[in-house]
């Protein structure tokens, strides 16, 4: 009995340490992936049963909440998506009004890709929205990773449960699986390449699969990135959408 108590006493701090480590892992990953400010140019390569097509974009972001994406490819030139803390707005040059997305519309596919508006534009502050738990270590694509389970603190997130595999050395996401509240797999994310800019490492090429769509995947590629730069004032305002 005494021996059992000693083992129990020994396990409690170890469990606490593991829980703390999961938060640390996510924090370090977000330090890499969520930037004070950034400007990126990239492409969405959308593959479905009808073939492949590419949409290019320029994105500006500030922290986890604010993002502005402007599409530059011929089919969508001038279209913009603005994400502020709580809202998503769409600007189309042919429309006289901004479109404010809310509720279920946020989960609509962007440009027919496997990425929803919510995925693309944000709310990346994971620790604000999820309880995290380290559940093991695994090798993903030849890289050692931590496996971290995330459980939503509220219903106000796109994916109530997630599993993220974080590179043990670079603290960058290598793989993610996103689930519904009842445990149904909704999306898979695989990081194929990473990029290092100003000492920060983040995904540069990811393949996202909406498993509810058949024969569909979207490659998200960042070609160039600048981080922690000065951005124009009011760039994340509704006025900026009409520039």
């Amino acid at each position: 009995m005494k021996a059992a108590a000693i083992v129990l006493m020994a396990l409690i701090p170890a469990a606490a340490l593991v829980a703390q480590s999961a938060e640390e892992i996510i924090t370090r990953m977000e330090q890499n992936q969520v930037h004070d400010t950034s400007r990126m140019e990239g492409r969405l390569i959308i593959n479905d049963r009808f073939g492949s097509r590419t949409s290019s974009f320029i994105s500006h972001a500030r922290g986890a909440d604010d993002a502005l994406i402007e599409f530059t490819s011929a089919g969508e030139r001038g279209q913009k998506v603005l994400r502020t803390r709580d809202e998503v707005y769409l600007f189309y040059p042919d429309a006289a009004e901004l479109i404010r997305l809310q509720g279920a519309a946020l989960r609509d596919s962007m440009l027919g890709s496997d990425v929803s508006y919510e995925d693309m534009t944000g709310n990346r502050a994971l620790l604000d929205n999820y309880r995290v738990r380290l559940t093991g270590e695994e090798t993903v694509a030849g890289r050692p990773t931590f496996r971290v389970e995330l459980e939503a603190r509220s219903r106000n997130v796109a994916y109530p449960r997630q599993t993220i595999w974080v590179d043990r050395e670079l603290f960058v996401m290598r793989r993610a699986e996103q689930f519904s509240a009842n445990g149904r797999l909704l999306k898979e994310v695989e990081v194929k390449e990473t990029m290092e800019v100003s000492g920060l490492t983040f995904p540069a090429r990811m393949v996202i699969r909406d498993v509810l769509k058949r024969n569909s995947s979207t490659e998200f590629v960042i070609d160039t990135a600048e981080v922690n730069i000065s951005l124009p004032r009011n760039i994340f305002s509704l006025e900026s959408l009409r520039w």
């Binding site: 049963r49 429309a95 440009l111």
Partner: protein, 420 residues
């Protein structure tokens, strides 16, 4: 004395009972005439709506659209639409070609999202297909080159918008991206099909093509056929002409290198129309049951007559009237009753159908919004089916009279004369 005279005299011997028989047959004939007129009205309205709004008499579009319909394949278009319409104009039997650009999308309101379908039309060509001007209930049609829309009355109500107000629709483009455009409502249109009135708005085809990132492309080309004013097609064979033209049109398009396109006759496209055709067979069976029920009164009347007139039958037999002539006598009595009943019932059914054909019958929720049919049905008297109903009711009721008559013919004269 002639058998026909005896039969007529026998009918008038018990007028109340004869009247009951006539009434039973008349009610059956009236019901079936009314039912057939209603079904005919539904069939014609359905065919007219399908041809006017959905498919034309022959519809040309990308052959893979049907296969991927559930995925909203707006990128599967009719390319080089101008050339395609020129080819179709040269196909024998094609009177007019009507291009359409359809774009389902979402209209975002303050707290709600309304799903709608924009239809880009060429107004002049559209007039060749149906009387679109008669459907405009207020305002005017949208002008080419302007972001204007004519909105279905029910859709306008759902949006809470009227003439002079604007809405923005977000849709998928032919490049499989997305685009949005703002339209000003300049008119309201009352489309007869509830599903269309609740979702459709019409815009100039050039603006629809711009929104959809289409060049010389359309979603489909509808055609109206020469022989076929709609009424003409419906009066003759509603299917054969359209199918033949569809085959010729597809061959002409493929020969010109448009091998991705398919042409289909309207009746092959609509599931609802096939359903109505199936229902028609079911209604024929229902009609048979009605007549059997009506005829049971005739059988009953004739049987009672046979029992009541057993002595008379015996006397006639003793005087040399054979079994065949006895059967003929009772058959004639049944025939006169059924002719009178059927004539009365069909006449009342025709009059009722003609009146309802003007006033209409509001079917309300009985008509599914998914059906390509309005909630008010206008019965149409079909001469052929009316004649068939008359002959059918006379035949069934007369044959029904023969059954007890055969029993009467088998009674021996001695036995019959002994009866009280």
């Amino acid at each position: 004395m002639k058998l026909s005279t005896i039969a007529f005299r026998n009918i008038s011997r018990n007028r109340r009972r004869s009247l009951l028989s006539i009434t039973a047959i008349a009610v059956a004939a009236l019901s079936i005439t009314g039912l057939f007129s209603l079904v005919e009205g539904m069939r014609i309205e359905l065919a007219t709506n399908i041809q006017s709004y959905s498919t034309g008499e022959v519809r040309i579009r990308h052959s893979d659209v049907d296969r991927f319909e559930i995925l909203n394949p707006v990128h599967l278009t009719v390319e080089n639409a101008t050339e395609v319409m020129t080819i179709l104009d040269g196909v024998e039997g094609v009177a007019a070609t009507v291009p359409r650009v359809e774009f389902p999308g979402a209209i975002f309101l303050d707290d709600d999202t309304v799903r709608a379908v924009g239809v880009g039309i060429d107004l002049e060509r559209e007039r060749a297909l149906h009387d679109i001007d008669a459907r405009l209930v207020s305002g005017r049609f949208a002008e080419p080159g302007r972001n204007e829309a004519v909105v279905g009355t029910r859709l306008a109500r759902e949006l809470g918008l009227g003439i002079g107000e604007r809405f923005t629709i977000l849709t998928t483009t032919a490049l499989r991206g997305s685009n949005a455009m703002t339209f000003e409502i300049v008119g309201l249109i009352d489309l007869p099909v509830p599903a269309l009135a609740a979702t459709w708005f019409l815009v100039p085809i050039d603006r629809a093509q711009h929104l959809m990132r289409m060049s010389d492309q359309v979603s489909s080309v509808l055609t109206r056929l020469e022989a076929g004013s709609l009424a003409g097609t419906l009066a003759g064979s509603p299917t054969a002409g359209a199918t033949a033209v569809a085959t010729a049109a597809e061959a002409a398009l493929h020969a010109a290198g448009h091998e991705t396109l398919s042409a289909r006759a309207w009746n092959e496209i609509s599931d609802t129309y096939s359903l109505i055709e199936t229902f028609t067979i079911v209604y024929d069976i229902i009609a048979l049951f009605f007549f059997v029920l009506g005829s049971s009164v005739v059988i009953n009347t004739t049987m009672m007559v046979v029992y009541e007139r057993t002595r008379e039958i015996g006397t006639l037999s003793a005087m040399g009237m054979g079994g065949g002539r006895l059967i003929k006598l009772f058959f004639l009595e049944g025939l006169y009753l059924s002719v009178a009943g059927a004539a009365l019932g069909v006449a009342l059914g025709v009059v009722l159908s003609l009146v309802l054909g003007v006033t209409g019958i509001n079917m309300g929720d009985a008509i599914s919004i998914e059906m390509e049919i309005g909630t008010v049905i206008y019965p149409v008297v079909n001469l052929r089916s009316t004649v068939v109903v008359f002959l059918y009711s006379v035949a069934v009721a007369s044959i029904a009279a023969v059954l007890p008559a055969r029993k009467a013919a088998r009674i021996s004269p001695v036995e019959a004369l002994r009866a009280v």
